[in-house]
């Protein structure tokens, strides 16, 4: 059981902003308490975007959970939580209450005008929590920019923009509107390219071998993070690797802030559709790899060139190719090779340590042929502790997540809960003084635990 309070309107707004950001990605909020943090997580339906907010206990003005308390893990409907923050500008006090014994989450909100509101949400207990297995340390490239800058940049893009491509270069970062050639309408879409000079960034560490890599991902998650960061005029930190690897968007450099926001988004694989090119590249790759094993010293520069050549697609040509193709082929071997080059690993196992590499990507999933889809589904991990299998070629292996236990358990319905509450209610009154005056005034909402019978209701009304 856990309770925390915020007494400052600015911080309450931050909290509300975090919920807003989470709701732009997923529909359910996953809550976890640890020794010193309250963690909110959200995952989108296709598991291609993951948001993680962690609030350190110092973020709150009061908190009641102790380091040795049992950690709480639960899941609530996110939209419902967000709805309680409609009039956030007038809020003066916010208390969050999580009761795993009663299976509810409660928000108690006081506004400056004296209005007190209590929102109660029932939740599902979760004995395992989904976390993305990806972190800053795995990314050699870091770009830090004021959120305002990127926001302004995105505003000049077309209205219906869904995906955006980042291309880091030596002196600038290119942000290019991405058009999926198969979605059609190429002739009618506004294409925008924005080049931001290196000097505009607070930090621009991109390793030269990643110059011209195309990192394509949905713009909605980027916008969600940008609006969160802009709220406090913060910088947004982008951590990324190569084409196809997930990108981490964060509001802090090292995860030590009191309010940490991280969003991990899958990026588009660089799949070559042209069969001939595939074969040629594979052959090239094979010969390259032989070269690797024979000449260790010179190999790196050669491989760099190869990598750059492969990765630095001519934007236009690629669109042309995509337009001509019906199916997507997968360039498993080429990618396997690339990963090896990145890690300087041997040719044998591409999967070692690379559990983070690929992420399934929704739009691609729909375009995939049935066969691939089956493979893809098969690979979507039931048993996620395995790293991405290098045998199954798929356009996008799944993001690997850690499950810290078995499947979710679902408790029996509200009836049982209600019974528990009725019997426990007496104890409650004795324990917590603050509760009484609110309990009897709880609005029955659809999510709320219905608390109809209160043997002590009369008493509390008098008190109030």
């Amino acid at each position: 059981e856990m309770r925390a309070a915020i007494h400052d309107n600015g911080d309450i707004r931050r909290f509300a902003q975090s919920l807003r950001c989470l709701s732009k990605v997923g529909t359910e909020l996953s809550i976890e308490t640890t020794e010193d943090q309250l963690i909110f997580r959200s995952l989108n339906q296709s598991q291609s975007a993951y948001v993680h907010f962690s609030f350190h206990r110092k973020f709150f003005h009061e908190q009641s959970w102790r380091a040795d308390d049992e950690p709480i893990k639960c899941r609530v409907n996110l939209k419902a939580c967000l709805a309680s923050f409609k009039a956030v500008s007038s809020m003066s006090c916010f208390v969050i209450d999580i009761r795993p014994d009663k299976m509810y989450l409660r928000f108690r909100i006081e506004s400056a005008s004296g209005l007190k509101r209590v929102y109660t949400f029932d939740f599902e207990q979760q004995s395992n929590v989904l976390q993305a297995d990806f972190s800053r340390d795995l990314c050699p490239n870091v770009v830090v920019a004021p959120a305002r800058l990127l926001s302004k940049c995105l505003s000049s893009f077309r209205a219906g923009l869904t995906e955006v491509t980042l291309i880091p270069k030596e002196e600038q970062l290119l942000i290019v509107s991405y058009s999926d050639a198969e979605a059609g309408n190429l002739q009618n879409q506004l294409q925008t390219e924005s080049a931001i000079q290196r000097s505009a960034f607070h930090k621009y560490h991109v390793s030269p071998k990643f110059y011209n890599a195309e990192i394509t991902f949905p713009v909605s998650e980027l916008r969600a993070m940008l609006s969160f960061c802009e709220h406090k005029d913060e910088d947004i930190h982008l951590f990324f690797r190569a084409t196809g690897d997930p990108i981490l968007l964060s509001n802090n450099a090292d995860g030590s802030a009191w309010c940490c926001a991280d969003t991990i988004v899958a990026t588009l694989q660089d799949d070559n559709d042209d069969e001939e090119e595939e074969q040629a590249a594979t052959q090239q790759a094979m010969s390259q790899s032989q070269y690797v094993s024979s000449q260790a010293s010179d190999s790196e520069s050669l491989l760099d060139d190869h990598y750059q050549a492969a990765a630095a697609h001519n934007y236009h040509d690629r669109q042309q190719q995509q337009r001509q193709q019906q199916q997507h082929h997968h360039h498993h071997q080429q990618q396997q090779l690339r990963r090896q080059h990145d890690d300087n690993a041997s040719m044998v196992s591409a999967s070692s340590g690379d559990t983070h590499s690929m992420m399934s990507f929704d739009s691609r999933a729909t375009a995939m042929s049935k066969k691939k889809q089956q493979q893809h589904r098969h690979q979507r991990p039931q048993n996620l502790n395995d790293s991405v299998s290098s045998d199954a070629p798929s356009s996008a292996a799944s993001l690997s997540y850690d499950y810290t236990g078995g499947a979710d358990k679902r408790y029996a319905g509200s009836k049982r809960r209600l019974a528990e509450q009725n019997t426990d209610h007496d104890d409650d009154d004795d324990d917590e003084d603050g509760d009484d005056e609110y309990d009897s005034y709880v609005e029955p909402t659809p999510q709320a635990a219905t608390m109809s019978q209160y043997p002590d209701a009369k008493r509390s009304r008098n008190r109030y």
Binding site: K152, C153, S156, R158, Q187, Q189, Q319
Partner: protein, 280 residues
Amino acid sequence: MRFRANIHNPKALGLLCQTIQKVNKQCTLKLDKTRTRFICQTDLVDGSQVWASVKTGTMFSQFRIESQTEDQIYLSVDLPNFARAVRSGEQATDMIIRLSKKGSQPMLSITMSVQSGGGTGGDRPRHEITQEVPVRVLTANEIANLNLPACDQPKVEIYLPQLKEMRNVVEGMRVFSPHVSLVADMAGSLTLTGITNTLTTSTYFKNLEHPIKDGGGMHQPDPTIKTECKVDVKKLCHFLQVQLLQPRSVLCCLVENCAVILRVSTVDEITLVYFLPCVG
């Protein structure tokens, strides 16, 4: 075929596009050294049309154009895209627009340099934006078919009242009536009427002005001449968008059984001519 220019008034250009895109999203753009024209037509024979013309120097500078058709280029452009691209450079310095090609797709490339971050201050780092608007070059046939609609001489020409007032009235009528009938005479009065089975609403404007004819004052126009035209209310509403451009005057010419022709002239010396065909 070559075209390159600097846009020094992106706001006006953007507003113009926004105004006429209500008629049709696809617009024919005629680029010419002296006058640039925007023509929005709908496919239907009795659809509304707008022909907008602006002195090239008002919007563009350092205009360079070359083509095999008398140095004029006709393009078909999607207005929302174009407006978006142009408006993104409202605070930009040096907006350069060029006709270029991407593969086989011709496009209007607009490059500009914008200050990163908000606020003023010349020292802020700048970032470059390149917008590419896909266009289509018109065929000779299409160019030949580009004609002003044929209409008789209007009998009644009257200046419209304040567009704001008219807009309120017409929007109100839009709710229940599909058509609006305009009745005007040469004595300064204009009546807008909306009719349904159960309701008739009329709004009377009076003391409106008429254009002074160049006939040397030979004869005053007969004040009793009255013309009535019925037009589609939605199209009339689309026309009223022109209020965005803050027009100096709007001349309404009624041609019975043919069309309502509205000639708009704005402060920026943009002239627009709207053709609203008569209905019924």
